[in-house]
């Protein structure tokens, strides 16, 4: 049985359709990411699964329970963990007190001391929450999400506002939970987060799921076009350089092709024949970010005008 099964889920707020007929399943032990821009419907979807919001239409089963059924809600909450988007920690209690309090709400909680160690707050165990840094508070928040030893955990944008090392730490924690067999549902608008953590990704935009798959195959990423990028030093005559789907921004040249071997052959031949270097030549598949931007409605033209900083600075000597 799937940990989470959603069929035809819809939710409106007045005239605004927040979630529009979406369906997906998450299997036990899987890490599933809902990826989408702000306002796409990620949080609404997760809040319906958590039982915090009522749906307008569709079927939802979470660990076999209907989250809208109040009669079974405590049984369901006993088995799931939640990390909300906003930080929500009691400011005047210490780290250990907050965890001990919430551990008491569950029948089979984790050991509070082990949990403090797991999230790296051992040195702060006796400190009041208000005296923790933002990143430390967020780690406590994560600890509160898993204090009940959940089978299923919801992480709503778990690393928004983290510095890179705190982010890495949170990822490690999610990976270790997944390694223990916990089912994880996370929402994020970071492509690299979905790519690093998720077994499967659904991209959501304007309330609809526009693509689903593994991070590697999403949107035909493993099959489709490649990008060839390079620069030509100023002052060289490159008027003869013509390829389909070629774009130039200053010195930067980008060619999108589905026959990258032939294209490269022609390109390097031209380079050698004319003695013009292809500075920083790279061939890359569409990144998850490219796919995401395509799927969520940004134009490719817009992208070509805003080459990523790494493309501009990477150079082969």
């Amino acid at each position: 049985m799937a940990s989470v099964a959603v069929t035809g889920l819809s939710k409106r707020y007045g005239d605004f359709v927040a979630v529009d007929d979406i369906s997906f399943e998450v299997q036990p032990g899987e890490v599933f990411a809902l990826l989408g821009p702000n306002g796409a419907g990620k949080t609404t979807t997760v809040e319906i699964l958590e039982g915090f919001r009522k749906r307008d239409a569709g079927e939802v089963a979470v660990l076999g329970f209907d989250p809208a059924n109040m009669a079974t809600s405590l049984q369901l909450r006993e088995r799931m963990g939640i990390v909300l988007q906003e930080l929500a920690v009691e400011p005047l209690l210490t780290v250990r007190e907050v965890l001990r309090r919430n551990a008491g709400y569950f029948c089979n909680p984790r050991s509070v001391d082990e949990l403090i160690e797991l999230v790296g707050l051992t040195e702060k165990a006796g400190a009041r929450v208000k005296n923790l840094s933002g990143g430390q508070q967020r780690r406590l928040d994560l600890a509160l999400g898993i204090v009940g030893n959940p089978e299923l955990i919801f992480l709503d944008e778990p690393t928004t506002g983290f510095d890179p090392s705190a982010r890495r730490g949170a990822w490690d924690l999610v990976e270790s939970l997944a390694g223990e067999g916990t089912t994880v549902i996370l929402t994020t608008h970071y492509m690299d987060e979905a790519e690093a953590l998720a077994d499967r990704v659904s991209v959501i935009a304007e309330g609809r799921i526009v693509a689903s798959g593994t991070p590697q195959s999403l949107g035909g990423r493993d099959l489709g076009d490649a990008k060839i990028r390079f620069r030509i030093a100023p002052g060289h005559d490159d008027a003869e350089l013509h390829f389909d789907n070629m774009s130039r921004v200053g010195e930067l040249v980008e060619i999108v092709t589905d026959h990258e071997v032939e294209t490269l052959h022609q390109l390097t031949g031209w380079s050698i024949d004319n003695g013009i270097a292809l500075i920083g030549l790279v061939v890359e598949r569409l990144t998850l970010e490219d796919i995401y931007l395509q799927l969520t409605g940004y134009s490719n033209e817009g992208l070509a005008e805003r080459p990523s900083p790494s493309a501009l600075t990477k150079e082969v000597p």
Partner: protein
């Protein structure tokens, strides 16, 4: 040590969980210098100051009894109101806007236990203040103790229930934590002033007639009744208790209808 609830079944576990929750509510309350200060320290300080300045004077239209009798009762009532209405309403707004209520709502803690914890916290803080005020009144200013303790307990407990309901109801009208303190405090102190906390109102005066519509004055007079030791005066003020009960029911109705777990912002 605190009770950390262990996995037992049914009633025993629920009872442990109630105690567990009350312990952490109390811990949070006494850790908050502003919250603890404004309620407990204020009521005792008021009594000390007023007792020292006018406590031994007599109140002619109360048959010449000493004012300290009135002040002990008045500030016991004040203590209950500040714990159950003022402090509780502000506390709920802050927790709601911080997302703490939402998180609680999504945990397996039954809602009735969460609410019991909040109520018990207000009750304990009220009781601590009443005891302190009685001790200060008795040994500091020679106040005479009530003729009928049960009447005092019933009056104050009705006040606790009534003002807790009103406090929860009031919290639903405050949109954010910045305005919670000022708005609640202004409403509270205006009602206190109108209701004759700092000086006994003459029965039948305009102020008395206005404040008769609100529950504040009724808690003060119901609490004062057992301290009014003149012969032939009843320690029970059923009329005041009934008005508080009505306000409590209205407050509970509004609270249940309007209560929100999620922050109002965003």
């Amino acid at each position: 040590m605190a009770s950390v609830a262990v996995p037992t079944r049914g009633g025993a576990r629920q009872l442990r969980l109630v105690v567990h929750q009350i312990y952490f509510e109390q811990l949070s309350f006494w850790r908050n210098p502003i919250g603890a200060g404004f309620t407990v320290v204020f009521s005792v300080l008021f009594l000390v100051l007023l007792g020292a300045t006018g406590g031994q004077s007599t109140v002619s239209y109360l048959g010449g009894i000493k004012a300290i009798q009135y002040y002990v009762a008045g500030f016991a009532a004040y203590g209950v109101m500040s714990a159950c209405f003022n402090m509780l309403a502000i506390n709920i707004v802050i927790r709601r806007e911080m997302g703490l209520l939402k998180r609680m709502r999504l945990s397996p803690l039954p809602r009735w236990i969460l609410m019991t914890g909040i109520f018990a916290n207000a009750l304990i803080v009220s009781a601590v203040q009443v005891v302190l005020l009685l001790v200060v009144g008795r040994y500091g200013y020679g106040a005479q103790m009530p003729s009928n303790w049960l009447a005092l307990v019933v009056a104050l407990f009705t006040g606790v229930v009534c003002f807790t309901a009103l406090g929860v109801a009031a919290s639903t009208f405050i949109p954010n934590q910045d305005s919670a303190g000022p708005v609640i405090s202004i409403v509270f102190f205006v009602l206190l002033f109108l209701s004759g906390l700092w000086y006994p109102l003459k029965p039948g005066s305009t102020l008395a007639r206005v404040s008769d519509w609100f529950p504040v004055r009724h808690l003060i007079t119901a609490t004062f009744a057992p301290f009014d030791l003149r012969p032939g005066v009843s320690a029970w003020s059923w009329n005041d208790i009934a008005v508080m009960a009505i306000w409590g029911v209205v407050g509970a109705f509004v609270a249940l209808r309007r209560f929100r777990w999620a922050p109002m912002k965003g």
